[in-house]
């Protein structure tokens, strides 16, 4: 029988853990508990609720307004792991520098990043966005169209990424990818990168931007990239979207080209 005094001595440890990892608890609360309660209460999925909010609160045809509304919903109402405004700025800057003509996005989710990318693309550029889930894709489609981007700019592909990538060349006529944005399952980062390499779509100067490489993190992906020597790696350190205290980062890979 453990005495209560010994149990009490563990109180400082408990408080320490609570304080030190408070942001993770906040994340747990907002991303899991609130979602669960809301799912039960409304009977709608999280993405549908987000879409409803955006439909009622934003100006159609204005990407900036849609993005702002998204940010507001994600930080004040509920939580969806979009790329967020701060990391989004890095993305915008990169797109400004590269001016890519062919862009591949893995993991559309609700279309936040799709809108973000599409609005800073140069004229005549084309964005292929890949989403696995049917339901999410429907909502993403609505949001993209709401923002005013047509089929010529943004093409939404509903299929798992590892099925789409080998077929990109035949089915979609893609010869070379200038920019790849990865924000889907963290486990798929590495196999998808290897698939892209295998299909020969990446060439010299192609940029791959991978989100969330620190938290939740893709250690295998980073290890592979560091060791392969094919890429120049830059880690953009930032905090997790909509939650201040958790550190996160984006990995920017610049293809050096095969000699």
């Amino acid at each position: 029988m453990v005495s209560p005094a010994i149990a009490l001595a563990f109180l400082p440890l408990l408080i320490t853990l609570l304080i030190r990892y408070r942001y993770y608890f906040v994340l747990l609360y907002r991303a899991v508990l609130v979602r669960w309660v809301q799912d039960l209460l409304t009977g709608l999925s999280r993405e549908e609720r987000a879409f409803q909010y955006i439909l009622t609160h934003s100006i159609p045809g204005d990407p900036q307004s849609i993005l702002d509304t998204f940010d507001h919903w994600c930080s004040k109402v509920e939580f969806i792991s979009n790329i967020g405004p701060k990391k989004g700025k890095i993305l915008d800057r990169l797109l400004e520098e590269i001016r890519p003509l062919t862009v591949l996005e893995l993991g559309t989710h609700c279309g936040y990043s799709t809108v973000r990318i599409a609005r800073s693309l140069p004229l005549g550029a084309r964005l292929y966005s890949i989403e696995m889930h049917e339901k999410n894709a429907q909502i993403a489609e609505k949001i993209i169209r709401l923002a005013g981007f047509d089929d010529d700019t943004v093409e939404l592909v509903v299929s798992p990424s590892d099925e789409v990538i080998p077929r990109l060349r035949e089915d979609y006529g893609v010869e070379h990818l200038d920019f790849v944005f990865m924000d889907h399952w963290k486990r798929c980062y590495l196999p998808d990168l290897q698939l892209l390499e295998g299909s020969g779509l990446l060439g010299e100067g192609s940029v791959v931007l991978a989100d969330n490489v620190v938290f939740p993190g893709a250690p295998n992906f980073l290890r592979y990239v560091r060791n392969s020597g094919l890429y120049e790696l830059r880690l953009h350190r930032a905090s997790l979207e909509y939650i201040r205290g958790i550190r996160d980062g984006m990995a920017e890979l610049v293809h050096r080209g095969v000699k």
Partner: protein, 840 residues
């Protein structure tokens, strides 16, 4: 000859020099170099201020002083160089080219009037020399020429010493230096003839040998310092703050070695060898009731059974005045060693503190904040790319922070918030301290209740509750403090000190609660002793009665020592408690190390392959080395040793063992499972803050020990002082019995308060006097510093003025030389100040 040196050869030469410097001797070499340089600098400054002939005489003095190794090595190197040169002599054309290039190099800008004269003459003389050299190559020298040569040599020597102050470009300086060295090398030996020449060569060779030997000896000395390489390795990976802990640990190990030597050599070994053997007396025998379980591991682990009745504890020692054929005064030795260890510790700690105080010369300079950051923030001991990256990042952030701070200090609106947070943090820490204090108090009270009811009725948890709670609180509260201190937003160095202070308060509270509990227990034991004394007389009477009844003439039957009733020797109990505390503390430390660091590292490392988030960067991550917690653990451990060593002579030995093991274990753990701190910061290796804490702990730990020695009478049937009224009576006894009568008389006179009080007064006066003089020195130091700063300010202004006049090249050059001149002055005054500080 000297002008012909071509740039390639020079390059080779410098390369060779560099290679030499890269060897392991580098350290000692550099030290020597620095020393000689500083000497030179100081001298040169004096020279600069003097003029003409006086300067030359000074030079000569200087030369005498400067028979340092540095010059000689360079000369030796130069010698080698010359031989090389001779082998690879180029045709005349090359020589001419070199001459041409030399002429093309710009002459030094004009200097201030004071120095212009001197340098002019030097320049001309050097030119003269180049022409004269050719003549001297003739082997036969007339006395006149010899005189000339001597002059030239002196000239060169002078040139070398004042070279640094010259406003020449660096390249020219180097060139001139090398040329002059070569010249000296060549002709200094030639001054003597025949035998003298040989002697000179012999002397140079011997000097070289001697130097090499000295270098080797230095290397040997560094190799002899225990764990030096390990600590350097850690320092390179983790920065100097972590290394300072290990240096402290090593220092502590040294002290404990001496304590161990004292107790082991003068107390434990004599008793074991010459004292009465085990089983001869009641105090040296395990009682009958305990004999069955006396060898069980559980009992031994608790330091009961045979461990309790051995030299490890106070109770085993006999009160026999002199033991063995050496007539070793055991009780006296026991007492003196107990006092001596404490006295020695005081001496060492205070001496180290005083020595460290000298090292911290300058105070904080906020005047040139950014310059300091710019030029001094790199930690050159880092040898690991990851740490270097961290340091790089931390310097960048510190720059950012400093800029923000500067901006904020102008705005100063956020300061209230910071202050509020700091107050709040301290409040929280106080709450935490009070809570932990109360918890320990509660537990101690409970344990007393258990003890009254008899510990046999309770389980392991109840019996070890106090130790467990103390260890757990000591482990977890610092973590909480660490989290709370994030609120305060201090610089890590200051944060470390706060953290140290807080943990210090926590540990101190814990320790003193423990001591108070022990005191209660001592009182209980003494009451028990009274009853045992009574029982004893009854038992004796019974024994005698029984024997008397049977046959009255036979000698009294002696009972087996195991059956004799005995008192509850409180001294041994205290010693046992301390030993148990040390053991449990050590175990906790090691287990925390293994679980908190090693297992965590293993988990993070290997689960990272199959986990859904990045364990290394993200949530658990690798642990950082906790400097403050470890330092305080060490200090308090030492405090317990000081406190308990009198009642358990085995404590220093245990501590030496513990320190030895933890040196290796922690070195390994740091290198294999910890990551460098994110903000690597500098900490001085000889940290006076640690020492101050050690001193406080030393004082606080000797307090209860002295109290028990002075005010509580020793047990009647155990220990070296049994039968005496007080423990220190042993001194008086020795004085009476071992010294002649007059000595006792003298001692009694000397200990007369009429003599002691004036002596004390005198000491106080002396301390007061010394303190006031040191204060004056400090003031003078501060004045000098102020002066220096004022000068710097002036320089700044002058520089600005010079920059404004930059359009006029002549003017600009003038001001540049002036500036340099000032720089030199400043350096000199700084040196002066340093010496002041040393005296201080």
């Amino acid at each position: 000859v000297k002008n012909e040196r071509n740039p390639k050869a020079k390059e080779r030469d410098t390369k060779r020099k560099l290679e030499i410097h890269k060897t392991t001797e580098q350290k000692t070499e550099n030290k020597k170099r620095k020393r000689s340089h500083s000497k030179q600098r100081g001298k040169r400054n004096i020279d600069d201020e003097d003029k003409g002939g006086e300067q030359i005489s000074k030079q000569k003095k200087n030369r005498k002083n400067k028979k340092t190794k540095k010059l000689l090595t360079e000369e030796a190197e130069g010698e080698g160089y010359i031989t090389k040169q001779k082998k690879k002599r180029r045709p005349q054309v090359d020589e001419e080219n070199a001459n041409a290039t030399k002429q093309m190099t710009p002459e030094g800008p004009p200097k201030k009037k004071k120095r212009a004269k001197v340098s002019e003459s030097e320049d001309s003389s050097s030119e003269k020399e180049s022409s004269e050299e050719e003549e001297w190559k003739v082997t036969a020298l007339t006395p006149e020429e010899l005189e000339k040569l001597k002059e030239a040599v002196d000239e060169k020597k002078k040139l070398i010493t004042i070279l640094r102050g010259k406003p020449w470009p660096m390249l020219k300086k180097l060139q001139t230096l090398k040329e002059s060295h070569d010249f000296l090398e060549k002709f200094e030996g030639a001054l003597g003839k025949g035998k003298a020449k040989k002697l000179y060569a012999y002397k140079v060779m011997m000097l070289k040998r001697w130097m090499k030997f000295q270098r080797d000896f230095e290397n040997f000395k560094t190799a002899c310092i225990p764990w030096e390489m390990k600590i350097k390795d850690i320092e390179s990976h983790f920065g100097s703050s972590v290394a300072s802990y290990f240096i402290f640990l090593r220092w502590m190990y040294g002290i404990n070695m001496i304590l161990f030597g004292l107790t082991f050599g003068l107390v434990m070994v004599p008793e074991a060898l010459m004292g009465k053997p085990y089983g001869s007396m009641p105090r040296k025998t395990v009682p009958r009731a305990e004999q069955a379980s006396a060898m069980d591991f559980a009992v031994l682990w608790d330091f009961g059974g045979y461990a309790k009745y051995s030299v490890l504890f106070y109770g085993y020692y006999n009160s026999q005045r002199a033991i063995g054929w050496l007539k070793f005064r055991m009780p006296l030795s026991y007492f003196l060693v107990g006092v001596g260890t404490v006295a020695y510790s005081y001496m060492v700690v205070i001496r180290t503190m005083a020595r460290n105080a000298n090292e911290q010369g300058g105070g904080d300079d906020t005047n040139f904040n950014f310059s300091w950051k710019m030029f001094t923030s790199w930690d050159y001991l880092i040898g690991n790319p990851e740490t270097a990256d961290n340091k790089f990042a931390s310097i960048t952030t510190s720059f950012k922070e400093a800029i923000v701070e500067e901006q904020e200090s102008r705005k100063d609106d956020n300061i209230h918030l910071t202050r509020f947070f700091r107050v709040l943090a301290n409040f929280l820490v106080l709450c935490c301290l009070a809570g932990s204090g109360y918890l320990i108090y509660f537990v101690v009270r409970r344990s007393q209740k258990f003890a009254l009811e008899g510990l046999e009725n309770y389980g392991w948890w109840e019996r070890n509750e106090v130790n467990m709670v103390m260890s757990l609180l000591g482990m977890f509260c610092p973590m909480l403090f660490d989290v709370i201190s994030n609120l305060e937003n201090y610089h890590p160095r200051i944060a470390l000190q706060w953290q140290l202070g807080r943990i210090f308060a926590l540990f101190l509270g814990n320790l003193y609660t423990f001591i108070i509990a022990l005191m209660d227990e001592i009182n209980l034991k003494r009451k028990e002793e009274e009853t045992v004394k009574l029982n004893m007389t009854v038992w004796m009477a019974n024994l005698h009665n029984g024997t008397l009844a049977e046959n009255s003439t036979a000698p009294p039957i002696t009972a087996d020592p195991a059956d004799v009733p005995r008192g509850p020797c409180w001294e041994t109990m205290v010693g046992q408690e301390f030993v148990r505390l040390i053991i449990s503390d050590t175990m906790t430390t090691y287990i925390t190390l293994l679980i908190g660091d090693f297992l965590r590292a293993v988990m993070v490392r290997f689960f990272n392959y199959c986990w859904c988030w990045d364990l290394e960067y993200g949530f658990p991550s690798y642990s950082e080395f906790d400097v403050s917690g470890n330092v305080l653990g060490l200090i308090f451990n030492q405090g317990m040793i000081w406190m308990g060593a009198f009642y358990a002579p085995c404590l220093p030995a245990l501590n030496v063992l513990r320190l030895h093991v933890s040196m290796y274990l922690q070195c390994w753990a740091v290198m294999c499972c910890n990551v460098p701190q994110e903000r690597v910061f500098k900490a001085s290796g000889s940290n006076n803050f640690y020492m101050a804490m050690l001193l406080v702990i030393l004082f606080l730990s000797t307090l209860p020990a002295i109290y028990t020695i002075v005010s509580i009478p020793p047990s009647f049937d155990c220990g070296p002082f049994s039968g005496k009224n007080r423990m220190f009576d042993v001194i008086q006894e020795t004085l009476e019995m071992d010294f002649p009568a007059w000595f006792g008389k003298v001692f009694s006179y000397a200990s007369n308060p009429g003599l002691v009080l004036p002596f004390l007064l005198l000491m106080v006066l002396a301390i007061y006097y010394l303190q006031s003089t040191s204060k004056t020195y400090k003031k003078a130091n501060a004045e000098l510093k102020k002066k220096l700063q004022a000068q710097n300010e002036e320089n700044k202004k002058k520089n600005k003025r010079a920059a404004l006049k930059a359009s006029d090249p002549e003017e600009a050059r003038n001001s540049a030389s002036e500036q340099q001149w000032h720089q030199i002055n400043n350096n000199a005054s700084k040196k002066e100040m340093d010496t002041w500080g040393c005296k201080n």
